[in-house]
């Protein structure tokens, strides 16, 4: 088997605040092969958005990538200089931001915003070529050509989000990181945008990491699911298997708490609250809320191991 597109190895991202180090991402490792859509889910504070920012090298002080590697297509993103990273963005990996309305420049026409990145990366294009590329990009995200001459405020939220999708694919990167791209949109528009992303993913063979907390959206769109909790990776596996047979007690509770058609009016949450990342509990970070915790969970941090082929889990129930 060839090397995976992305290898994240023992990544640690800490925020240094007055009270100490907030371990936002703590010792996370996973591989991602080409052409896979992976969902990264977790509650607020689980570290999922920090993961996205770390991959884009957008962690700002007091935050810092403490240690670890992120190897994308043979290049360790952690070791790149600012300038090298700038060159890599858009070409190798791109991001679809959460709120399109805040990501677009309100006083610049859409055509300019679509090719700005390409020009900045030194792509030389004639005026005709630029126009053609803009039309092509708009067509790829199902927007009419007239959008090119419009300003962001003339577009609906869903259309704005499509523009950011078009931006992200403008240089055909290998990996797209989408940080809750549809959380500000309602169901029908959300579905349109997700179907656009899906189609492009298949057509261009890109890998996508979709970050979010909506398990329903994940069930509908990704083929692999990664679950984070309190800065640590809990479980990774094929989406269908994760839903039908979750191995980690946290994943089990998460899936049980989801509203389904058959169980009207049953509101089950996960009891307890997420631990402080300043002083996470000893041992497994989930043991304070875990119904299956025993002595070992309080003392020893479980390793993240491949419990079944393609199923990785960090839980003492599944370590021999």
């Amino acid at each position: 088997m060839s090397a995976p597109l992305l290898q994240v190895i023992n990544l640690k991202v800490y925020y240094y605040v007055e009270a100490g180090a907030v371990k936002a991402v703590d010792d996370v490792s996973f591989d991602l092969e080409s052409g896979i859509k992976m969902g990264l889910v977790g509650e607020s504070g689980s570290g999922k958005s920090t993961m996205a920012q770390a991959m884009m090298r957008m962690i700002k002080p007091p935050g810092k990538i403490e240690s670890g590697h992120m190897i994308l297509d043979g290049i360790d993103l952690v070791s790149l200089s600012e300038e090298q990273m700038r060159q890599t963005k858009l070409r190798k990996l791109a991001m679809i931001p959460q709120g399109a309305m805040n990501a677009l420049n309100p006083v610049m026409r859409i055509d300019r915003q679509l090719i700005d990145g390409m020009l900045d990366h030194g792509v030389v294009m004639s005026k005709d070529e630029r126009e053609q590329r803009v039309t092509e990009l708009l067509e790829m995200v199902d927007l009419p050509p007239k959008v090119a001459m419009m300003y962001p405020h003339e577009l609906s939220g869903g259309m704005q989000q499509r523009v950011t999708v078009a931006q992200s694919i403008s240089m055909e990167p290998d990996l797209i990181i989408a940080d809750e791209p549809t959380s500000a949109l309602d169901v029908v528009i959300q579905r349109q945008v997700m179907e656009t992303i899906n189609r492009l993913q298949e057509r261009l063979g890109i890998s996508v990491i979709l970050i979010g907390h909506d398990m329903g959206l994940m069930a509908q769109t990704v083929n692999r699911l990664a679950v984070m909790y309190a800065g640590r990776m809990m479980e990774i596996g094929e989406t269908r298997k994760m839903f039908h047979d979750p191995l980690h007690p946290y994943t089990q509770l998460l899936i049980e708490s989801l509203p389904v058609l058959e169980n009207k009016g049953v509101f089950s949450g996960i009891p307890g609250i997420t631990p402080s990342l300043l002083s996470p509990p000893e041992g497994c970070v989930f043991h304070t809320r875990c119904p299956k915790a025993w002595e070992r969970c309080r003392e020893e941090i479980p390793q993240f191991v491949e419990a079944q082929p393609g199923r990785w889990v960090a839980c003492h129930l599944h370590t021999a």
């Binding site: 509650e43 607020s44 199902d142 939220g157 259309m159 949109l185 309602d186 169901v187 029908v188 528009i189 959300q190 579905r191 349109q192 179907e195 907390h213 909506d214 398990m215 329903g216 959206l217 994940m218 069930a219 509908q220 769109t221 989406t239 269908r240 839903f243 998460l254 899936i255 708490s257 989801l258 509203p259 389904v260 058609l261 009207k264 009016g265 049953v266 509101f267 089950s268 949450g269 996960i270 609250i273 997420t274």
Partner: protein, 337 residues
Amino acid sequence: MSTPLLELKNVTKIFGSKSDYTVALDGMTFALDEDFPKIVTIAGESGSGKTTMGMLMLGFYGPTMGEVLFRGQPLSTFKGPELYKFRRQIQAVFQDPFAVYNPFYKVDNLLSIPIKNYKLAGSRSEAREMMENALERVGLRPEETLGRYPHQLSGGQRQRIAVARALLLAPKLLITDEPVSMVDASLRSTILKSLRAMNQDFGIPILYITHDLTTAYHVSDYIIILYRGSVMEAGNVDKIIRDPQHPYTKLLVSSIPWPDPDLSWGGSEEMIQKSQVAFKEITGCKFEPRCPYSMDICRTKVPELFMTNGDRVVACYLQKDNPALPREELSRVFTEA
């Protein structure tokens, strides 16, 4: 029949100027009875008029046409003490659990101010007790919440304090506008549980405004589906979500991302793509430009509310063989079990 608690009478709300305007709510008639401890969802996508409807009921702005009545009296006539009293009886919980708090004050303020304003407590210790009770009723531990600043609490905790505040005032009606959309999925159920408990234990009717049909299905009894300010379908929530009859409701329901990889998104691709069609002057059914079943009559005349059975109306000519329910009697679908 007794006078309803709150009533919208043929209410239209138009925003904008004469040349450039938006009809946010179009001839809406709806009434909630005093002793009607049910949860009614107002659902629809952005721009459907659902929030406008809530704002009108709270009296935050007046209708362009029609009347909003509280116990038979128009809201616009309320002044001074009457308005004060009205404000207490209709409470609200809003979308953003951050914006309702002043970050410089402890969260206690949100609870102690209404107690002070409405003189609910005789002494400081009584006030404290009231606050603690209210928090306990929404499943929060007072010792973990009181004395803290908003940023020290999670979105779910803050939103539950907002529910506790509403509860404190023992309102006659609670209007909640997207109360869980900004809260983590894992915390949503705790808030919905608090709302449901408030509704059942204290008999307070709740208007649940949302675009999220999943939570609407789980928390409410009845639902009104709005599209561009008009009712598309209304009635029993179970029946409507499980078996939608209006093409628009079908589109909404088929777009729900159910958390089950075996239940995939279904529905008509055509309707989804057509949603980009710009809004123009429409004389018939507002959904017609997107509707795959569109007929000639749909373009010329607004469909009536056809009553497909005792507890459901559908504003669609596909159901025209059923008897029509006069618009002002919309609430009837909520009372006949």
